[in-house]
């Protein structure tokens, strides 16, 4: 059946060399292409949007300013005023994740954040910065993060071990959450889209083909929400973890 090749839901996540040839360490793939597109789109929004410097912002400038204000208030509210030194980092991370998620929703595009290695690299970067900055700023005092005060000495070793496991689990949960949301959302969309094609090719059953079509429309709207919310959650958890590095004393 003609629909059969259209319903392979995993096919969209395949990383392929763009200009032919074998996969090497530095091959320019479709994933690389969409990373470049994402960075170009963000640069366009921020550079062109702010170049006018109008007192009354136009549409593009308003979008750029909203993005700035949104991330700035998130950082201030979560990590305090001293967290603002990490603002460029959090802003870049948030914009990259948001634009990857949104661009990935356009049909025939590739979702960069649906690759676990990409999200895990981000999460490892966040935790690496937390550890390096915390140790640099507070020295051994940073390790008090793992030793809560007011715990009975008998329980203390267990609590410290639990705190360490909880800390180590952070990059995993941070990366898996974003990756799983994107992967599951795109697979669901593809499967429902495949239902439409299969039902249309199934004779009398084609009368119920509009049902999965309606579900696809609703799911696309939902995925738009998820794309934004996941970028927001990623940014805010980055701020929470950075807050631990800035103020390790609990």
């Amino acid at each position: 059946m003609a629909a059969a090749q259209g319903i392979d839901p995993i096919h969209q996540f395949e990383v392929l060399p763009l200009f032919g040839g074998q996969m090497g360490t530095a091959t320019f793939t479709n994933a690389s292409l969409f990373m470049v597109i994402v960075v170009a789109a963000i640069s366009f929004l921020m550079i062109v949007g702010t170049s006018g410097r109008a007192l009354v912002p136009g549409r593009l400038q308003a979008a750029a300013e909203m993005a700035y204000e949104f991330v700035a208030s998130t950082v201030r509210g979560t990590a305090g005023e001293s967290g603002m030194r990490f603002f460029p980092f959090v802003f870049s991370l948030f914009m990259f994740v948001l634009f990857s998620n949104l661009i990935g929703l356009i049909p025939y595009t590739f979702t960069v954040t649906s690759q676990i290695i990409v999200t895990f690299a981000f999460a490892a970067l966040v935790i690496g910065i937390v550890i390096v900055y915390g140790l640099y700023k507070h020295g051994a005092h940073f390790l008090h993060l793992f030793v809560p005060s007011g715990v009975h000495p008998v329980l203390l070793p267990f609590i410290v071990l639990i705190e360490i496991i909880s800390f180590v689990s952070r990059p995993i949960s941070l990366s898996v959450r974003l990756f799983a949301n994107m992967l599951a959302g795109h697979i669901t969309l593809k499967v429902f889209g495949g239902f439409v094609a299969m039902l249309l090719g199934a004779g009398a059953y084609s009368v119920i083909a509009p049902l999965p079509l309606a579900a696809t429309v609703a799911l696309t709207a939902f995925e738009l929400l998820v794309a934004f919310l996941q970028a927001y959650v990623f940014a805010i958890l980055t701020c929470v973890y950075l807050n631990d590095a800035i103020h390790p004393g609990h």
């Binding site: 208030s73 998130t74 201030r76 509210g77 979560t78 990590a79 305090g80 267990f158 071990l161 639990i162 705190e163 496991i165 909880s166 180590v168 689990s169 952070r170 995993i172 949960s173 898996v176 959450r177 799983a180 949301n181 939902f222 929400l225 998820v226 919310l229 996941q230 959650v233 805010i236 958890l237 929470v240 807050n243 103020h247 004393g249």
Partner: protein, 119 residues
């Protein structure tokens, strides 16, 4: 004469009513703009937010258990204490998972947490 007096009375009554209305409006506005009591994560009624929170709880819980198992397994390989440390770290990982969930529940990481960060 009496007509004018009634007008004044009406005016006074109207003004009083206007004042009481604007006071009510101000109170309502104050109530609406006050931050929600448990942070924005839990009060957001819509499905997307609830699902995001659910995903967060699940991933934190599962990640802690996986980390516990991997740590225990690796220590077993290094120290040659076949299943003992795996079991211990599985239990610790589960505890860490519950601890993560407990932390999400007690201090939701919404944007309105400025009060906690002064220490």
């Amino acid at each position: 004469m009496s007509d004018k007096g009634r007008n004044d009375e009406d005016d006074a009554a109207l003004r009083a009513r206007l004042e009481s209305l604007s006071r009510q409006l101000a109170q309502k506005k104050e109530g609406a703009s006050a931050p929600p009591p448990v942070g924005s994560d839990l009060t957001g009624g819509n499905v997307g937010r609830a699902m995001t929170l659910g995903f967060r709880v699940m991933s934190e819980f599962v990640a802690a258990i996986i980390v516990g198992v991997v740590l225990g397994w690796q220590f077993d390989v290094w120290l040659g204490t076949a299943p003992a440390l795996l079991i211990v770290f599985l239990a610790l990982g589960t505890a860490a998972g519950f601890w993560n969930v407990y932390r999400i529940a007690t201090q939701p990481t919404g944007p309105k947490r400025a009060g906690d960060n002064t220490k």
